[in-house]
């Protein structure tokens, strides 16, 4: 038995199931990170002293990471746009670039983390580092999650292109929405933690 509206849109809502599903999922993600940001604000307001981000964190490195993630969002859109133009080869290149940018981001993050641990700046040191590790750690997990999904569509999941290109394009669009959300979280994280 087939579930209706997985590929074609339902006429009165103008949407596929997957599109609604991913937006609902993102709504719940907003609440997840929203709660953590709210906790950050509450802890900072209540603290007797709170360090400026650049006292602990490496701003140039994070700026580099911001640029990397924004670039990955651009390549993600290009990957989807290539599918819309029915150019599968270009899709592979752009999707590969997106995954690679994600990897660069994680490598830079790894150096940041290991530098902190080397200096003895652990989550338990103070509440600034606690929220820093929690927020960036959770964000990092989301980056990994997004990369796994993108890698699946780059590799084994791409078989769907041959049998049902519209469905495949939709799926890439949905994973792109998630990827942009992960970028957006970083766009908020970067000034909040590093600059303020």
């Amino acid at each position: 038995m087939d579930i209706p509206y997985t590929v074609a849109v339902r006429r009165d809502t103008g949407l596929t199931n997957g599109k609604i599903g991913i937006w609902l999922f993102l709504a719940s993600e907003v609440m997840l990170f929203g709660a953590l940001f709210a906790s950050y604000i509450l802890m900072r307001v209540g603290a007797t002293s709170w360090p400026r981000g650049d006292m602990f964190l490496d701003v140039p490195l994070a700026t580099l990471n911001t640029i990397v993630l924004i670039a990955s969002s651009v390549t993600m859109v290009m990957a989807w746009a290539s599918l819309m133009r029915r150019r599968f080869g270009t899709f592979r290149i752009y999707m590969g670039a997106t995954i690679l940018f994600g990897l660069v981001f994680l490598v830079v993050k790894y150096f940041e983390y290991s530098h902190h641990i080397h200096l003895g700046e652990l989550p338990s040191t103070n509440n600034f580092l606690a929220i820093y590790f929690t927020l960036t750690g959770l964000h990092g997990l989301h980056v990994i999650g997004g990369m796994v999904v993108n890698a699946y569509f780059w590799g084994p999941g791409a078989k769907l292109w041959k049998t049902n290109p519209t469905w495949f394009t939709n799926r890439v669009e949905h994973s792109g929405l998630f990827w942009h959300f992960v970028d957006l979280v970083w766009i908020f994280l970067f000034p909040t933690l590093y600059l303020l």
Partner: protein, 586 residues
């Protein structure tokens, strides 16, 4: 669907054969069929309800006869928990925390949302399955893992979580290993609910049958729809809080640990500077909407059964729907009424008590509409209807006794007393659980093709109805005398508690008798699988779309594609041939 069969019979026939070839594991265990998943959820929920009830019956012994050794089974729990059959305070705390957690997150929610939502909702909107069948399966198995984690935590050193179902910090942060298991278990349960919520909302919006506009929805669909939004948006903040508490416990952070905390004479070495109240805010931001997650599906079930058995349309369907949506929205801005005792300041308290008074209005509108729906009906008192009708006064008592708790001034003496216990149990136990029982008797014929036995059902109902009140009514008396909850000796040490001590035994005997009256239900549940009266597709002469499917519905649910031609409750239409005009008949 029928057209397709005519045009291309071959692929369809292959399709059908393919489904029959599914092996035992794919068909009954790792199934993606919403009906099988719904039944899995329901059975899991019922088992956990029974388990949580058993934990409570142990606690009731200690409360009725504090310090007395438990005869017969007391020695089974070992010297570490019940030396000589007498319950240790730590074990009592374990039972208390896990009773709450299991009843809420593993009992009522899986049964009300996972069970009824999965089984009934797609049938009621005329869908072949849920929008994402595989995610649906994952969602059940996340719940299962969460349940296993919670059960497993009883066997770790130091036992299960002991900090109450609310896991207030800093107590929960400095508690034993069981608390870590509790947090991990909760993360599984939250994941399960989130996946379920995405699925329910998408299914409701996308897979509605032709002609089934939102204002033609049965009230149950609306209830599940609003509930799914509550789960989707309220659970993630608790997940965030859970992650932070886990960090506090494992990575040594101080999100919830204030500076200068001294435990057992030892100053903690943590950095400090955290905020214990932050946990309470994040917890209740989930847990107040959670209250409505517990009650709204119950209201939906009751509405269906009342319309069916009064043979009348629901009175004020539209105002009920608008109230429901408003209730869902308001439930996000009342959470701090659980925290009046934390010294939040009058401005905040005034805000939250105002929103709390406002949220009582839509609840009263729905309840009133259901009561007025009874007016002038020729009511059929079958078992589902008995439970549904009993829901109304029980939920009424629970709701109205909540008003003094929602007002800042009267909450202060009543806070954390047995009055609170009585209040929310009236909402959930004789309230929601009666609604769920009504739902089980009502949709059992759809799930199995057989009716449950009416006589056993009536014994189950009468016994449960009396016992529920014997259990919870005394708690109002004990609570108003000022006795706190969570006292492992029921207040033996306090002089002011003495005049009401004997009520504890009354309450306990009520609980144990309630267990006896569940035996007819359990027997009936299994016996009717084989021996129940076989029924056709519409045994209750109901109007909504699920009754057009065969009982039990096959894979894919409907024979043709169902269509909705009118509103959900066209009962006793003047001039019609029968006293009901189904939604699905042209």
């Amino acid at each position: 669907m029928t057209d397709k069969v005519v045009v291309a019979p071959k692929p369809h026939a292959e399709h059908a054969i393919h489904h029959e070839e599914l092996g035992f594991w794919r068909k009954y265990v790792f199934s993606t069929d919403h009906k099988v998943i719904g039944i899995q959820y329901a059975v899991t929920g019922l088992l956990f309800l029974l388990f949580g009830f058993c934990l409570m019956m142990l606690m009731r012994w200690q409360l009725a006869y504090p310090g007395a050794p438990l005869p017969l089974i007391g020695s089974l729990f070992g010297e570490a928990r019940m030396p000589g059959g007498t319950m240790l305070p730590e074990f009592y705390n374990e039972l208390g925390a896990m009773h709450g957690t299991i009843m809420v997150f593993l009992g009522v929610v899986p049964l009300a949302v996972g069970g009824f939502g999965n089984f009934v909702l797609p049938l009621q909107i005329g869908a072949p399955d849920m929008a994402f069948p595989k995610i649906n399966m994952v969602s059940y198995w996340c719940l299962f893992l969460g349940g296993i984690t919670m059960l497993g935590s009883f066997f770790v050193p130091g036992g299960a979580a002991q900090s109450g179902w609310t896991s207030y910090t800093p107590l929960a942060v400095i508690a034993g290993t069981g608390q870590t298991w509790w947090l991990i278990g909760m993360i599984f349960l939250i994941t399960s609910s989130l996946l379920g919520a995405v699925n329910f909302i998408t299914t409701t919006i996308q897979l509605r049958a032709k002609g089934l506009t939102f204002m033609r929805f049965p009230f149950f669909c609306w209830a599940q729809f609003v509930t799914a939004f509550l789960l989707l948006l309220a659970f993630p903040p608790l997940e965030a809080a859970g992650v932070m508490q886990l960090m506090d416990r494992i990575a040594g952070t101080s999100f919830f640990l204030p500076s200068g905390l001294v435990v057992s004479g030892q100053a903690l070495t943590n950095a400090g500077g955290g905020n214990p109240l932050l946990w309470q805010h994040l917890f209740w931001f989930l847990a107040h909407p959670e209250v409505y997650v517990l009650i709204l599906p119950g209201m939906g079930i009751v509405a269906e059964i009342i319309a069916n058995n009064t043979r009348k349309p629901l009175w004020g369907y539209r105002s009920m729907v608008y109230s429901l949506v408003f209730l869902g929205f308001m439930s996000f801005i009342v959470w701090a009424h659980h925290m009046f005792m934390t010294g939040m300041g009058t401005a905040m308290a005034a805000f939250f008590q105002t929103t709390t008074m406002i949220i009582s209005i839509p609840s009263v509108v729905i309840l009133t509409a259901l009561i007025i729906s009874l007016w002038g009906g020729s009511i059929r008192y079958n078992t589902p209807m008995l439970f549904a009708v009993a829901f109304l006064p029980m939920f009424g008592i629970g709701g109205l006794t909540g008003l003094p708790l929602g007002l800042n001034i009267s909450d202060i003496p009543l806070h954390d007393t047995y009055y609170v216990i009585a209040h929310f149990h009236y909402v959930v136990a004789p309230g929601t659980i009666f609604a769920l029982m009504a739902g089980i008797y009502y949709w059992y014929p759809k799930a199995t093709g057989r009716k449950m036995n009416e006589t056993l059902g009536k014994i189950h109902f009468v016994g449960s109805f009396i016992c529920m009140n014997v259990i919870f009514m005394p708690m109002f008396i004990i609570g108003m005398a000022g006795v706190s909850r969570r006292l492992f000796d029921a207040g033996t040490a306090y002089a002011f508690a003495q005049p009401t001590m004997h009520w504890n035994a009354v309450s306990s005997w009520g609980a144990w008798t309630l267990a006896v009256f569940q035996i007819p239900f359990i027997f009936n549940f299994f016996w009717s699988l084989w021996k129940g009266e076989t029924v056709g597709e519409n045994p209750w002469q109901a109007t909504t779309i699920e009754w057009s499917a065969p009982s039990p519905p096959p894979h894919g649910n409907f024979v043709g594609a169902p269509e909705a031609y009118r509103g959900p409750y066209e009962y006793s239409v003047p001039g019609a041939a029968r006293d009901f005009v189904p939604q699905y008949e042209a």
